[in-house]
Symmetry: C2
Subunit: 590 residues, 2 copies
């Protein structure tokens, strides 16, 4: 199905926006009036530029406050419209968006609105133009899609149809029954479909719309369900993104356009309108890779926290460290100073299928700079720059990345597996990262939570392939100055007090937790004195959920940009100890 | 009156917060529980630290979800409270904040709530502690101040009183009649008063409260009116700021504390509870000072736009340029490259009184590095670093800054005066700047407007001393990366087409405005063809307000970080052409 994007979604000048839309593979654009007015190109030059890029101009938008006004105003509005229809002829665009009137002049008179739209459509028709009438959620009298359709039906004009917009429809949190009316609209009278998602926020709908829209799949609205209903009418397309978002306004246009195209591809699939290679949900984390030019501090840390160096790579300065089923690959083939979490391996039932899915959803694939004798590995780059490798660890019939390693025969500590990885995301790319992991890897996002750091608020969102698959926690740094490469690796153990005592004995640099925290634990929970004393001694944090599930966890200090967490989960606790995050963050700041 | 600040208002660790509060002159603090829990200091050490800094700890906050729950839960809550009362004894704080219950367990039973609060107060009294019960705006059953007071009155316990919070009360946009109940509360039963303002936003009150509060005078709530009512009860203090704000969480704590103290001083004055030196509202802009190490580009620009060099300073490499009553001082005693707007002179009826007001409101005064023979000038530094000088230009009985200059005898162009100055504000300091200019200079803020730049949204707020006084326009840059020193000087002329033609002839670098803009003007307004042609030729922008007031304006290109605007106002137009800002911003980006 044809795909378009409104220029208002993208940052920069009109020519930058057109180029970015074309590079991302869009078929067309909606041109937002202000983008045109601010452009030094003539309409003819803009039309030629779009054509050169293989883009059609699918919509000119918006015309406002046209209908249901006193006659003298309407005559002036028609005069204005005539200018715009001339302009559209020069641009070569045949559909104009008319938003329902928001002005105080508008009358609550559907017959008058229909008569005015009909006269407007007469004028449009002379120029070969179609008028798409849309209900703004804050329209003065017409604010629902079915009301706009009634007006269009009353006017009964071949050059007049309706425009449906997922935000305007879904932001009113309609009952599913309220959406049944979409089926009453003939597909050929739906002249345009604009798509946007949004986080579910209780706020003024105008502000919500103008600042917080996002691409489908990044928010909380059921855009898929809406699209199914619209396609069932026979609407032939295009699918067009119209998103007003403060972050997108500042971000790189090419990257935003690619994110938008990925969103439309995933949306089309979820609505059953296209088929992509099916997602292969990862079943676990094969390994986390740390990169550093000076391995000593990281090796010291790994040793102190009970990891054992079990193997080295055939051809590269790369070592494998293990503790139970938790594996860390230490790569010293880098010139970066410090230690970063640079890659992660995900267990895939079929790595090649994982890669096909990723490619279909526009994930950048990583060139395989591997020696001839190495096992070929499919891998992609996540929005935060982390390399994601699709692995089949020691499974029959498939090459295993471990075959590139020579094992020393050392036996690692038996207790441990990777519980989750927490990845701080760069400013601007949080929603993109959520969609990326959701659409490409098939992970399910949890609710967003906010964590108070002494110097700002973190936003945090977990994604998981339940119940045993990998958990990723994406954190959005509070300010652009915050280090957006901070990462941590959480290892689950069976008895945290024992583990923490071992770590303490081995000289592991555990994070110190203030005594005040334990005084508060004593007030909040009826913990045995001995256990509380052990927590206090070892810096163990504690949380309990409403079902009685328990979470014990402790942290190492940070080496480079990486630290480790050890966790013990009991009774079905499903979170990440968010209540303790302010304590941990403050301790790390010291 | 004693002044306090909640630690949650400030960024950093607890000890940083205490130091910042003390430096700003606060008498006490409210300690937010999480700040204590995250601190490595013991309660005794925190108490000692506060005492060393001359701070009392006025409130411990908050206790939540205590009252009107099933008995077994209440017994557990009392156990938790006992721990907290012990802790408060160690901290040396005698008042605890209890927020009205928000949990699903809470019962809608005022008698039970009163009985529980009474038992809590019994326990508190044993430790010499007072309980201040506050209605959260989103409390499950108790959400208004008068309801909380009824519960307190029913409990009738000497250790139980109420806490009033301006945000929780005013965010419900009460009718003034709803506030009359404050008079029914005896002052000695108001155990605490928390003060915050907020911009008027239509959004979920919990989110509004947690992210968007600001200091009194920075938002849109009538905090002054509320304070008058509370003081009328005999409430003896303290006045305490409690502000949750995402920006404050990231900003420098010392600066935020000073901003908060300025807010309280101005609030106390506006409520009639204290007297400060009266504001001396400026009557005009004496001059704008540009600083540059290389004057040539700026001199070329000034010459081309009709300014004449009329004088030079006795002792410094500083020249005066004039056009009509618009004066620009060009200061080359700087090593900064580029050209910046570094200072502005404001006409004051009594410069020394202006300075006294500024000093009373904690404005940083500028050391007078002036030669012995120079006229002494009182000046302060605004939050964005601009020096503000209080001037009496050629008024009898007062020294005039012009006496430091030797005039060449050149006669400047007669037409022009400074219309407004637009100053981009650094990230983090927008609200501080608004309060600074409002409280210290007595300027009145207008509504905030948003302007779309190709790479983000600017927020813009004008302040003026109507009708003839200076207008300042403060712009908040859309991203931290935006140049926050960008400034412009707007000169009003009587006939802009003539002026623009003169500038064009003189080779002034005027900003080019796209032809599409003029096609749109033709569609929107019925302008005479000749005038529209002149606008198009000269790059003049046009706006008309609903009362028919007209605004014509054009811009020079930017030299360094400064550009000029020429404006013509007719028919009482009071704005700044915000509708044209996206066109101007896009043109400047090219």
């Amino acid at each position: 199905m044809r795909k378009s994007i409104a220029t208002v979604c993208l940052s920069g000048t009109l020519t930058e926006k057109l180029a970015a839309a074309a590079r991302a593979g869009f078929d067309g654009v909606e041109i937002f009036e202000n983008d045109l007015l601010a452009s030094p190109l003539t309409p003819e030059e803009i039309a030629a530029r779009a054509a050169d890029l293989g883009l059609t101009i699918d919509l000119y938008q918006p015309m406002r406050d046209i209908e249901a006004v006193p006659e003298d105003h309407f005559v002036r509005n028609l005069r204005r419209a005539r200018h715009k229809f001339d302009l559209m002829g020069r641009l070569g665009v045949d559909t104009v968006l008319v938003c329902s009137n928001v002005s105080a002049l508008a009358r609550d008179d559907d017959a008058l609105a229909a008569a005015h739209l009909s006269r407007l459509a007469d004028l449009a028709q002379e120029s070969g133009i179609r008028v798409a009438y849309e209900a703004l959620a804050w329209g003065r009298h017409v604010s629902t899609y079915d009301h706009a359709w009634r007006v269009v039906r009353t006017a009964d004009h071949p050059a007049l149809g309706t425009c449906l917009d997922s935000f305007h429809i879904l932001s009113r949190t309609p009952d599913p029954k309220d959406l049944e009316g979409i089926a009453d609209i003939p597909g050929e009278k739906i002249f345009f479909l604009q798509l946007a998602d949004a986080p579910v926020l209780a706020m003024d709908v105008l502000q919500w719309s103008r600042h917080y829209r996002c691409f489908p799949g990044q928010g909380g609205l059921d855009v898929t369900g809406l699209l199914r209903r619209v396609l069932a009418t026979g609407y032939p397309g295009p699918l067009s993104l119209e998103v007003f978002n403060d972050v997108f306004r500042q971000a790189d246009a090419g990257r935003t356009a690619l994110d938008g195209m990925r969103s439309l591809l995933a949306l089309e699939e979820s609505a059953g309108a296209s088929r992509l290679p099916a997602p292969v949900v990862p079943t676990g984390v094969a390994f986390a890779e740390l990169a550093t030019s000076d391995p000593q501090p990281t090796e010291d840390l790994l040793t102190a926290i009970g990891f054992t160096r079990t193997a080295r790579h055939h051809t590269k300065p790369v070592a494998l460290w293990e503790r139970g089923e938790a594996r860390v690959v230490l790569n010293t083939a880098t010139r970066r100073t410090g230690t970063t979490l640079s890659a992660l391996g995900l267990e895939s039932a079929e790595p090649a299928a994982s890669a096909r899915r990723a490619e279909a959803l526009l994930a950048p694939t990583v060139p395989k700079h591997r020696a001839a004798q190495d096992v070929p590995l499919d891998s992609i780059t996540a929005p935060d720059g982390t390399e994601v490798l699709f692995c089949a660890t020691r499974r029959t019939g498939l090459p295993s990345w471990t075959d590139d390693f020579t094992f020393t025969g050392a036996t690692p500590h038996p207790d441990g597996h990777l519980d989750h990885l927490a990845l701080t995301q760069p400013w601007h790319h949080f929603d993109e990262a959520v969609l990326f992991h959701r659409a490409i890897l098939g992970l399910s996002p949890h609710d967003t939570v906010e964590l108070a750091d002494p110097y700002g608020l973190f936003r945090s969102r977990a994604l998981s392939a339940s119940p045993t698959g990998p958990h990723l926690v994406l954190n959005l740094a509070p300010t652009p100055e915050t280090d957006d490469r901070a990462r941590h690796i959480a290892v689950a153990v069976t008895d945290l007090v024992t583990t923490a005592r071992d770590l303490h004995t081995a000289g592991a640099p555990l994070l110190h937790v203030p005594g005040n925290y334990y005084d508060d634990l004593a007030a909040r929970f009826d913990l045995p004195d001995a256990e509380l004393a052990a927590f206090r001694e070892l810096g163990i944090l504690y949380d309990r959920d409403e079902q009685g599930g328990e979470f014990r966890h402790c942290y190492t200090r940070t080496v480079g940009q990486v630290f480790f967490e050890f966790v013990q989960r009991d009774g079905g606790y499903g979170g990440y100890g968010a209540a303790n995050a302010p304590i941990r963050l403050a301790a790390q700041r010291r």
